[in-house]
Amino acid sequence: MDILVSIKPVLAMAVSLAAAFLILITGESARNLRETWTILAAVIKFLIVASMLPQILDNKVIEYTLVSIAPGLLIKFRVDALGIFFGLTASFLWIITSFYSIGYVRSSNEHAQTRYFMCFSIALSATMGVAFSANMFTTFLFYEIITLCTFPLVGHKGTQEALKGAKRYLTYLLGTSVAFQLLAVILTYHTAGTLDFSNHGIMSAARDRGASDAFLTVIFVLYMAGITKAAMMPFHSWLPAAMVAPTPVSALLHAVAVVKTGVFVVVKIVLHIFGIDLLRQLGLGTALAYFSSFTIIVASVIALKQDNLKRRLAYSTVSQLSYVILGVALLTPSGITGSIMHIVIHAFGKITLFFTAGAIYIASHKTEISQLDGIGKKMPFTMAAFTVGALSMIGLPPFGGFISKWYIAIGSIEARELPIILVIATSTILNACYFLPVVYAAFFKEPKPAHTHSHGSDAYQSPVTHHPSIHEAPAMMVVPLIVTAIGVVALFFSPSRFLELAKIVVSSVTGGN
């Protein structure tokens, strides 16, 4: 594997950091200029990331050391297939979310828009930092920055409820990472003498050097407890609480950047810190697989009970994130492929669903599923996109979700863990149970009388059964959600580019066996 030295990963990270600064000094007085910075940074970031793709597909790795702080503590970037996979997903979806965000905050007249766009930009910088980090220190650094700069976004509304949610968000994410993840990182350094990711896992030789199985298990458990962004139970409750955030934040951060950072880091730890051989010897892969299966099922069951659309989506996310963990925990080629594919496929699907939730809120101020009867007729494009996202979550062809579930299912056969197939089947049924009623209600039920919702103007209070005022949200919001919905379908028909990347990841971590 050739190593190229290039500053591109740093630029990909830094471009939105620069944008954050420009956003701050431009401020509220020139909002069109301010939004231009966001869009510009998003596009440039995506182009930089995309420009690295040919080399990666060529089986090369791009590295760059930014600062060497102390022995073992280097801020170093390394773009490999897995990293660029995540980088491409996040940076592409940022472009779309940026347009959607602008539509959303302007339609709803949000306050503190400068802070909003600034924090968003920093969050994306840090996400690229995680995607392209070469060692666990750099990962930890950017992981924490994501937590800190998304905190103002979660609490954006400033209401008591928003503050409560934001506090829980920060307590879970920051608390577990400084207590458990940091300890795990230090133990890793103590045991392996390095924090640089390697294809066979830096801990792979630890056993020969006398580290006991119990000790390694403790480190692994600390990692899993410390990476709360992956929302594995019992550390999941920050995610539903974070739904108080404005919807574009939920869409990009809590379907893509933040939570995917979590599972991405889990994948990194499984593949590059411990390595699949060591985990197999320790039997931790299987343990993790069953642990995540528990989350998959339980979160789906909880999702069934939620009437608030965003909360239902949040529990769905909790469940779907564990698919990624489940896939990689199987430690087989197909399982890993499915896991990695699920990162991008779930991202597209879930961002579509969140976009529609936001569009519904902006167009009608409805947040509960029980209020959505008949809304499909008023907002056909939005609800069509919702249907696409929902079907992809369930895992039906011809939607992307089918691909990743397929690979994970094959992975479970390869790993001879047949109960896992049962888990996938159960979860599919549960997914159908909590998504299809929404689709059914939207398209086939008659709207309920108007008194069910609180934002009553005179027109609403009159006993008219139709809401003439409800129509599609602004184009700035509807177009992005159509684009992501198309993406969900496109991922089913031509997943080859992403599969190719996944194949490189698989061959690099299983190579030499």
């Binding site: 503590l73 300890l183 230090i186 103590h190």
Partner: protein, 493 residues
């Protein structure tokens, strides 16, 4: 006269004389005290950097006062550790003195200002004296100069300050007595007070009970001075009720210099093998540190007064420093020494922020922070950085010292120690998140129009400097370790 050669003594003589001259200036023109203090402390800072430079380039400095050879005469010995501490002391005292003018004007009666600066310079003199001398009795003398200046500075605070200061006087004097008894016992046994001389003479006497008692007295004395749990009881009151500028300077320097004395006694005067093998002193220190860290953090969580919160956090931070010393390995020691520097910056920054809030809102209560992000964006940005550093998030300085401390405890196999450090991070996260949330979010609900209303530049600049310093120090941790700290690690670690 070659200034470079005389720097070790000039750094004491200049502020010592200046503190006397300052009173005269004060009786003539009160407003000249501030610029005069700045000049004096500024020149001390330059001298400290000069000394540091000499030490890095040419090694340990030995300076004989009046040309008298040790062990008869007093010798100033400055190695990497001394120079490092001297730079910290002078930096903190200079930066806080810049900050002090407006803060003091607000909090003190004008007639007290000349005394304030006199005592302030005297405090710095004492602290510097401790760091440059190579003589255990001389350390005692300077320790008392420092403490006396400290008692007086704290006593000029608010209405409860005299009582708090009196407590401190009692405890501090007991501490000084213990220390002095330790010195006396060593002198009885060896006939020497010179550190290098003691280092040579003591190993033959390690079996002696008197030496053991002396060692114990030293540790108890120093532990009181650095407010090491459970001898910390004087600190919260004293640091809460002192004027803000005083809290900032004493919190960031006195405990640090005390920690330096502890390092000197346990690892230079006595050999590391005495402190860790012949008697299990280090494990006693380690377990006390665990208690210090846990109880300091938990008590900090229970406070509503911001300065009191900081005081308890400081008690936990002292535990951090001692825990790194107690594990007896390179990583732990590195973490401790690095934390002396980082903690000085963090604590000074936070106490100055507290002073800035007192300046604008007239309250030390945590609720006074509500909605300050609009009114005082720069102060609050610095506060945010210091808070994050206290929690231990990279790339702030606090992360790196914590990294080495935890690594040190793990290498020593002390899991409880490591857990205590991380537990404290967690509590700090809760404490500071609670405040940051008030700063950045509750402002939206406050109906009063929020226009920018920052503290005066002379207060704002030091705060920002500290905040930025925490980030810069973090990024340069490796360089600081390789150029200074690694030379301070005792042999055998």
């Amino acid at each position: 006269m070659n200034i470079q050669a005389q720097a070790p003594v000039l750094i004491i003589i200049i502020p010592l004389l200046a503190s006397l001259i300052n009173i005269l200036i004060g009786t003539w023109r009160r407003d000249l005290c501030y610029p005069f203090a700045l000049i004096v402390l500024g020149s001390c800072l330059l001298l400290a950097f000069n000394i540091m430079d000499t030490v890095i380039n040419t090694g340990t400095i030995h300076y004989r006062i009046g040309g008298w050879a040790p062990p008869w005469g007093i010798e100033y010995v400055i190695d990497h550790l001394n120079a490092f501490i001297a730079v910290i002391v002078t930096s903190m005292s200079f930066i806080v003195s810049v900050y002090s003018r407006r803060s003091i004007e607000k909090e003190l009666r004008a007639s007290k200002i000349p005394y304030f600066y006199t005592l302030y310079i005297l405090l710095t003199t004492g602290l510097l004296g401790i760091t440059v001398t190579g003589d255990v009795f001389n350390i005692y003398v300077f320790l008392e100069i420092t403490s006396l200046a400290g008692y007086a500075l704290i006593a000029i605070g608010d209405e409860k300050a005299p009582m708090a200061s009196f407590n401190y006087v009692v405890m501090g004097t007991i501490g000084a007595c213990f220390y002095l008894l330790g010195v006396g016992y060593l002198y009885i046994m060896t006939g020497s007070l010179n550190i290098a001389d003691l280092q040579r003479l003591l190993p033959d006497l390690y079996g002696s009970t008197v030496i053991l008692v002396a060692f114990a007295f030293f540790l108890i004395g120093v532990s009181i001075k650095i407010a090491f749990f459970p001898l910390h009881t004087w600190l919260p009151d004293a640091y809460t009720h002192a004027p803000s500028a005083v809290s900032a300077v004493v919190a960031s320097t006195m405990t640090k210099v005390g920690a330096y004395v502890m390092i000197r006694i346990t690892f230079t005067v006595f050999e590391p093998r005495f402190s860790s093998e012949i008697i299990p002193m280090t494990s006693i220190l380690g377990w006390s540190s665990v208690l210090a860290i846990i109880s300091g953090s938990v008590l900090a969580l229970a406070q509503t007064d911001f300065k009191r919160t900081l005081s308890y956090i400081l008690i936990a931070e002292v535990g951090y420093i001692v825990i790194g010393l107690s594990v007896g390995n390179r990583a732990g020691f590195t973490g401790s020494v690095l934390h002396i520097l980082n903690d000085a910056f963090m604590v000074a920054c936070l106490f100055m922020v507290a002073g800035a809030v007192v300046y604008k809102k007239g309250s030390r209560n945590i609720d006074a922070f509500t909605g300050l992000n609009k009114r005082m964006p720069f102060t609050m940005a610095a506060f945010g950085i210091a808070a994050i550093s206290m929690i231990g998030v990279p790339p702030t300085a606090g992360f790196f010292s914590k990294w080495y401390l935890v690594l040190g405890t793990i290498e020593a196999g002390q899991w409880v120690f490591a857990s205590a450090l991380l537990f404290s991070s967690l509590i700090n996260a809760v404490i500071f998140v609670r405040i940051l949330e008030k700063v950045y979010f509750n402002g939206e609900n406050v109906s009063i129009p929020q226009s920018r209303d920052e503290v005066p530049l002379s207060m704002l600049f030091p705060v920002i400097f500290m905040g930025a310093g925490i980030l810069v120090l973090g990024l340069y941790s490796g360089d600081i370790i390789s150029s200074v700290i690694q030379h301070t690690v005792p042999k055998g670690f």
